[in-house]
């Protein structure tokens, strides 16, 4: 069996497994898994830029929040229905990543991280500043009546799970497809050696910009999906913490692997879930995990798996 067929088989298998889990999981874990799948889309968007292109952004919460607010504000204040509002969310994510991409790609390395961090911080403060519409940190609830697409009520747990699964599957297969094409290979080449890629005649700047657009839009899709499925939008999702989370998830699962972001998100979610029973300082776990990861497993869970046994893993 060729490697491409094997990897498609594996990823279709994962999606099928998640579909089957819909019917057997108890309520609590059913809800959790829906949440994890949506957040995993955010992580996959982040992975596209960090894992495959090698650009470490500390400001992805800006894109997540752009999707979330693009969707929820049009629903809340303009009275749009959910379908067109999602398009607005995606468009604002795309526009935001275009602006940030054009500006921040003039820098590299540490400066790139700080510039993205500053843009995201400005976005977060803007969400607080326009508190009249966004209600700041407190956030606002998206009414149940507005959370419908084509007559399907997304606040129902079963529909919510399936919608999350559809979003997850779309992001997963887009990522898988991209890394198999020439475009994805150029991104990896940029990560490994930018100068050499440029010398081979590829437009490095254009490829990086396209990677940011793809990554930002995917993050925005996750943001819009999160707001719609869980019925809440707040400025917390634009804060620095939410820029750090996808980095953590991706590092934990394995940067530059297709399944890594999902595995990392799932692992971290349950780690925090279990530890918050013990202590209120659950971010301590996140901090310890980050330090231990940089020390002992810079490749992440799926990355280690690939290094040791499954070398064909995309």
């Amino acid at each position: 069996m060729s490697e491409i067929r094997k990897s498609w088989g594996l990823h279709i298998g994962v999606v099928t497994l998640l579909l089957a889990l819909n019917f057997i999981l108890p309520d609590y874990h059913h809800g959790n898994l829906a949440r994890v799948m949506v957040l995993a889309c955010y992580a996959m968007g982040y992975n596209m830029l960090f894992g495959y292109t090698g650009l470490l952004s500390l400001g992805h919460a800006l894109f997540f929040a752009a999707g979330m607010y693009g969707m929820s504000l049009t629903v809340q204040h303009l009275g749009w229905s959910a379908g067109p509002a999602i398009i607005v969310g995606l468009a604002s994510g795309l526009a935001m990543s275009l602006v940030v991409g054009i500006l921040s790609l003039r820098t590299a390395g540490v400066a790139f991280m700080i510039v993205t961090l500053m843009f995201a911080q400005a976005g977060y403060l803007a969400a607080l500043y326009f508190g009249e519409y966004t209600r700041g940190d407190e956030g606002f609830v998206i009414q149940k009546a507005a959370r419908q697409i084509g007559g399907i009520d997304l606040s129902d747990p079963m529909n919510r799970y399936l919608a999350a699964l559809v979003l997850f599957a779309v992001c997963l297969f887009i990522t898988l497809r991209v890394v198999q094409t020439g475009f994805g290979r150029v991104l990896v080449a940029i990560r490994e050696n930018e100068e050499r890629t440029r010398m081979l005649g590829y437009d490095v700047h254009l490829h990086k910009l396209l990677a940011i657009l793809l990554s930002g839009t995917m993050s925005a899709a996750a943001g819009a999906g999160y707001g719609l499925l869980f019925g809440y939008a707040g400025a917390t999702f634009a804060s620095v913490q939410y820029s750090i989370f996808p980095l953590l998830w991706v590092l934990l699962g394995g940067a530059g692997t297709v399944l890594g972001p999902f595995v990392g998100t799932l692992f971290m979610f349950y780690l925090i879930d279990l530890s918050s029973d013990i202590s209120t300082a659950y971010m301590l776990i996140a901090g310890l995990t980050l330090v231990l990861l940089t020390l002992f497993a810079p490749q992440g869970l799926v990355g280690e798996l690939r290094r040791r046994t499954l070398r064909w893993l995309p």
Partner: protein, 308 residues
């Protein structure tokens, strides 16, 4: 009230911010300049300084000056110990790789912050200032009888705030002397210029790194101790100063002491001024976007020679 008293008030508040900020940013700048480490956990050392100051001051009874003095002497070295330990346990082992140190210091940030939450708790607690007389500031005015003095209502400062400004000036001079006049400063500057050559000349680069990381943390902690009588100690207090010191370091140019001080004055005073006239959130939005654009279009900062 007319414009002038507002301006003077903004200027004074801005000078206090600038004093604290320049100490903290200098620590960040030293660590980046010598070790090439972007220390995201720097704000937490500031917070640890403030929290330790409360812990130490609460041990003393009687006149608040004793507790404060003890805090001033004990908290910064203790914080430096924490930093040196972190350097030994984590940063050294990942060989100061730029991207991995950022991730590791983010981890460190959460560990320190949440550990403080678990031990010290979520409350904001004040430390009493050693002295705190109110000073009213007079202004001149032309009346029919010629030049006369008057005291506008609400225009004033406290002796403690003036002392903070003085302390910062003295400490900055001290650091400048340390950098330029001592053997340790020489070793530090040599390591900053060229790590490999310094090592080849027998400079214990590893120990210089540890010392610089500790010194940077101690400076942040000092800033924390100085600010705690004005602003209460809280486990999340490191966040805003961290962002502001990043701004200062970037605008001032990395590793440049005069640049850092000038930028701290610029940011501190403009922060004070803008906050008097606009909402603080808007001031922060303008400042963060300003930094992003400085980095994009002038990566070497306003005074520095090297890019990031």
């Amino acid at each position: 009230m007319e414009l002038v008293p507002y301006l003077i008030l903004g200027l004074l508040e801005g000078l206090v911010t600038a004093a604290v900020l320049s100490l903290m940013a200098l620590g960040l700048s030293l660590v980046f300049g010598v070790m090439r480490v972007v220390n995201v956990a720097h704000g937490e050392f500031f917070m640890v300084g403030a929290v330790l100051a409360w812990q130490i001051a609460s041990l003393f009874e009687g006149h608040p000056a004793w507790g404060f003095l003890a805090a001033l002497l004990v908290a910064p070295p203790l914080t430096a110990c924490v930093a040196v330990t972190a350097n030994q346990l984590v940063l050294k082992r990942i060989e100061y790789d730029p991207e991995r140190t950022i991730v590791a210091t983010i981890g460190l940030l959460y560990i320190i912050q949440q550990f403080t939450l678990m031990t010290y708790g979520p409350d904001a607690r004040p430390v009493e200032a050693p002295f705190n007389q109110r000073l009213s500031i007079p202004l001149f005015e032309w009346t029919e009888r010629g030049l006369s003095l008057y005291w506008p209502w609400g225009l004033g400062t406290t002796t403690y705030k003036l002392a903070v400004i003085m302390a910062a000036v003295m400490l900055l001079t001290g650091i400048w002397m340390l950098m330029t006049r001592t053997r340790f400063g020489l070793l530090m500057r040599a390591t900053q210029l060229d790590r490999e050559t310094a090592q080849a000349f027998g400079i214990p680069v590893g120990r210089v790194y540890g010392a610089v990381f500790g010194l940077g943390a101690a400076l942040a902690a000092l800033a924390g101790v100085l600010i705690v009588p004005i602003q209460q100690a809280h486990y999340l207090m490191g966040h805003d100063p961290l962002l502001l010191s990043f701004i200062v370091v970037i605008i001032g140019g990395l590793g440049s002491l005069p640049g850092t001080v000038v930028a701290a004055l610029l940011i501190g005073i403009s922060d004070g001024m803008i906050s008097v006239f606009f909402s603080p959130t808007l001031a922060k939005i303008i400042a963060t976007l300003g930094v992003a654009f400085v980095l994009i279009f002038m990566p070497q900062g306003l005074f520095g020679k090297r890019g990031l």
